[in-house]
């Protein structure tokens, strides 16, 4: 193992929220209902392969990507396809699968990894449904199997509020993770970079065949975009792939057994659950039983977020786990009025990065934060505040403005290829004018995909 380079940043913010998950696994009866949501994948148009009422095996393809029919999405469990939930214009919102006890699986015959060619590995990953675990930069979409990436990045550091500890999640999956890294090495010609925390905690100190680097600093230091910018900056036309840590182990587990692995370890965390902790479950599982076990506070309206409080997707307590997230954040809704709450140094319990609040002095046990917007959207006036929380070598406000006016050339030159919406999560939070930065970037990237590809 060699340490490629350490990444240290000072720009950003560490926001300490109340309700960090305790490092214990709670064992409960596995959920019975599951859902695959095409919206978990950026700009994906799904094409169904299974009808309502049909039985599906674990690992059986349920739908594929219209843009590339080799990319298949498989059922995480054995059961029956119960319902296809559609929205406006018959858009597929979710494919609900009811699990049964038959435990039927699709098993693939694989060439041993050390003898397999790159093409064989790619074909196996595509056929098994493992491919969607691999995302590409630019744009943060599912990787194109025909591309040769410059490198593959895995960040095992989560710096977002209530972030999970991947060394704890992967504690007893060392072999799977190692195998996964070996598979990725096949895909990227030994250019696999893994970001670890500065202490090399957990299993990551013992993994071989990867270029590891340490990451140290406040959020968004753990974001993989930042690591790519430091270690393999993207140039026009280049591709870098990214895989999330638990999916590396899932890919490894598939290569060890021939069976698609849909393991998803989640933390239910946040101030609106009484006993925040970790659970082992499966991709797409319904969240309700886990929320109940973590003792969701039902005395007040709450928001269940698939993911972290900056980048997650709002859901409700009857929702289903997102495809990728290891974290379900639960915080109180904030639909209340605050008399003269706009005065400086008033309501200091609301976390603020601005010195117009004394909130820093009130952060003993972590903030109890709500979803209130704390103001209204306004024109962009204040300058310099975005740069403070944005460690990239990019001018964030200028890039946002280029996206707003849809100036593609400007967007390219200002670095749209180097970021994804999640990197602007903290800017969403911090900016005075309450501008929806992630949404602006998302629309900008959609435009780039449409116009440039």
């Amino acid at each position: 193992m060699d340490i490629a380079k350490g990444i240290r940043t000072r720009k950003g913010a560490k926001i300490n929220l109340k309700g960090d998950a305790e490092k214990i696994f709670s064992e409960i009866q596995p959920a019975s209902a599951y859902a695959l949501k095409p919206d978990d994948f950026f700009s994906l148009a799904p094409k169904l392969l299974v009808k309502e009422g049909e039985a599906v095996k674990k690992g059986q393809a349920v739908f594929f990507n219209k843009a590339n029919d080799r990319v298949k999405f498989v059922s995480p469990v054995s059961g029956t396809l119960q319902e296809i939930v559609r929205g406006p214009k018959r858009k597929i919102l979710a494919i609900r699968i009811l699990a049964d006890d038959k435990k039927q699986t699709v098993t693939h015959k694989l060439t041993a990894l050390d003898k397999a060619s790159r093409e064989e590995v790619v074909a196996a990953l595509l056929e098994s449904g493992c491919w969607p675990f691999i995302q590409q930069r630019p744009y943060g979409i599912i990787a194109n199997p025909d591309d040769q990436p410059k490198a593959i990045f895995v960040s095992t550091v989560s710096t977002a509020p209530l972030g999970v500890d991947y060394s704890f999640i992967l504690e007893n999956r060392k072999e799977d993770f190692q195998k996964g890294i070996d598979v990725l090495n096949k895909l990227a010609a030994d250019k696999v970079f893994v970001g670890v925390d500065k202490d090399f905690s957990g299993i990551f100190g013992e993994i071989k065949n990867m270029n590891s680097y340490t990451v140290d600093g406040p959020h968004p230091a753990g974001n993989v975009s930042l690591h790519i910018q430091h270690l393999a900056p993207l140039n026009m036309g280049e591709r870098v792939w990214t895989v999330r840590p638990e999916d590396v182990a899932n890919i490894g587990s598939f290569y060890a057994s021939g069976i698609f692995s849909a393991q998803r370890t989640i933390a239910i965390a946040g101030s609106a659950v009484k006993s925040p902790k970790y659970f082992r479950t499966t991709i797409g599982a319904e969240i309700a039983p886990y929320l109940e076990n973590a003792q969701l506070d039902t005395t007040q309206p709450t928001r269940v977020i698939n993911g972290d409080v900056f980048t997650g997707v709002a859901d409700h307590s009857k929702g289903y786990l997102g495809y990728f997230n290891n974290l379900v954040s639960v915080i109180p809704e904030g639909n209340n009025f605050r008399l003269f709450g706009w005065l400086p140094f008033v309501d200091n319990k609301i976390p603020s990065l601005s010195n117009t609040s004394l909130s820093r002095l009130f952060n003993r046990k972590g903030y109890e934060v709500t979803t209130n917007l704390n103001g209204e959207e306004r024109a962009l006036v204040v300058t310099g505040e975005m740069e403070k929380v944005f460690p990239f070598d990019i001018f964030p406000m200028q890039l946002l403005k280029a996206c707003m006016i849809e100036d593609i050339e400007k967007m390219e030159l200002l670095g749209i290829y180097e970021i994804v919406p999640e990197d602007f999560g903290l800017i969403d939070y911090a900016n005075t004018s309450k501008v929806e930065a992630q949404e602006i970037i998302r629309k900008g990237i959609e435009l780039m995909i449409k116009e440039v590809g």
């Binding site: 140039n235 409080v309 639909n335 609301i350 601005s354 209130n372 204040v382 310099g384």
Partner: protein, 386 residues
């Protein structure tokens, strides 16, 4: 609180969506959000938001203006009574000043906010809080005896031409408050310069010596104020700019809260000091030999650098750009003072000039980043073709 809320909900019912007065919703919203931070929750993007909003930022600027405003009110009375030679108390002076200045503030707010409300209703957007600061600044930088209708006209000009014509808050090129002053200065020069306008009711008094220090210097006269008097501000001048001491208190508030850019303020002081020092070496006339440190405390220099140059919309927006912008404002301010005897105070024109050039400064700063990226792309292509 909940009873107050209920009362207000009743009051605003006709303005809600689908109701009779829906079109005027921005007006009632402005009052509503003045009382309460609304109950809006996040709909997209990050689920949690910082406590800071534009209202809080603007109110912080107003708080920072207060020390200078109160001193300005007192100084107005002080100049009036001391020139009369009459005995007076602190309260006499303060009441005289308030009697002159409070109507100007009211006129500024009424005229400016009416236009803002009108545009918000016409364009169907919420009312931006920016005018709260502009409306306070405009009277603070006028000579005390300017007629109220001129204040009203200047306000209308600046809000319409400098701000709304460009698309409203956040879009303007020039600082609106300075545009108002520049309008008054060029449209009614007799009310804005000379030796009779800086002291309250000076035109009714014979034998007054109401010149500003810079006016005297430009005329080649000596100044008989000490550094401390100039710093503390008991000198004639526009209403709230005379006291560098209380402006500095405001500057500390702006810098501590992060609302005003310390880069621009520091850059401005450095630029002004440097230019003043260079002129000191040259020393061809009274203004040139006027010590560089005195240059920093007389006239509107301090007020302009702290409260006008730091306007984030019209200033440079990149951190490096802010340094360049600040330093150039300082340099041009002293240069205009020294080289333009017809108009001894240069800070207004220096800031307006740099407002125009701020986008150019930013362009070069951003271009450095773009060029770095282009270079990286080019080197990559070289490797590929090689």
């Amino acid at each position: 609180m909940s009873t107050l809320r209920k009362q207000f909900d009743k009051l605003r019912a006709p303005f809600n969506k689908g109701q009779k007065l829906e079109k005027f919703a921005p007006a009632i919203n402005a009052f509503d959000t003045f009382l309460f931070v609304p109950n809006h929750t996040t709909k997209e993007g990050a689920h949690i938001r910082d406590a800071v909003d534009l209202k809080r930022v603007m109110v912080t600027v107003i708080i920072a203006l207060m020390p200078a405003l109160f001193y300005g009110i007192y100084n107005t009375g002080y100049q009036h009574f001391s020139q009369l030679g009459a005995a007076f108390t602190f309260w006499d002076a303060f009441i005289h000043g308030a009697w002159k200045i409070v109507p100007m503030i009211i006129v500024s707010y009424v005229v400016g906010l009416s236009i803002e409300f009108g545009f918000a209703i016409y364009r169907g957007h919420e009312i931006n809080e920016g005018y709260l600061v502009t409306g306070m600044l405009i009277p603070m930088i006028m000579p005390v005896d300017i007629p109220l209708w001129m204040v009203a006209l200047s306000v209308a000009f600046s809000v319409l031409i400098a701000k709304e014509a460009f698309g409203g808050t956040g879009m303007n090129i020039l600082n609106p408050a300075l545009t108002a002053r520049a309008f008054a200065f060029f449209a009614y020069p007799t009310y804005m310069s000379g030796n009779k306008v800086w002291v309250s009711e000076a035109s009714n008094i014979d034998g007054i010596s109401g010149e500003t220090i810079l006016g005297k210097l430009a005329a080649g006269m000596d100044v008989n104020y000490s550094f401390f008097e100039m710093f503390q501000g008991s000198i004639p001048g526009s209403i709230a700019e005379t006291s560098t001491l209380w402006v500095a208190v405001g500057a500390l508030i702006l810098i501590f809260t992060g609302v005003g850019s310390w880069r621009i303020i520091t850059g401005g002081i450095l630029g002004g000091a440097l230019m003043g020092f260079l002129f000191n070496l040259w020393s061809a006339n009274e203004l040139m030999s006027f010590s560089w440190i005195n240059h920093l405390v007389v006239g509107g220099f301090a007020f302009g650098i702290v409260f006008m140059a730091t306007d984030p919309v019209s200033a440079a927006q990149t951190n490096k750009g802010k340094w360049v912008y600040g330093i150039l404002v300082g340099i041009f301010c002293i240069m205009i003072r020294v080289f333009n005897p017809a108009y001894p105070e240069g800070v207004m024109l220096a800031i307006l000039l740099m407002n125009v050039f701020a986008p150019t400064i930013d362009h070069y700063v951003v271009n450095a980043n773009i060029n770095k990226r282009k270079k990286r792309w080019a080197s990559q292509q070289l490797i590929k073709t090689a």
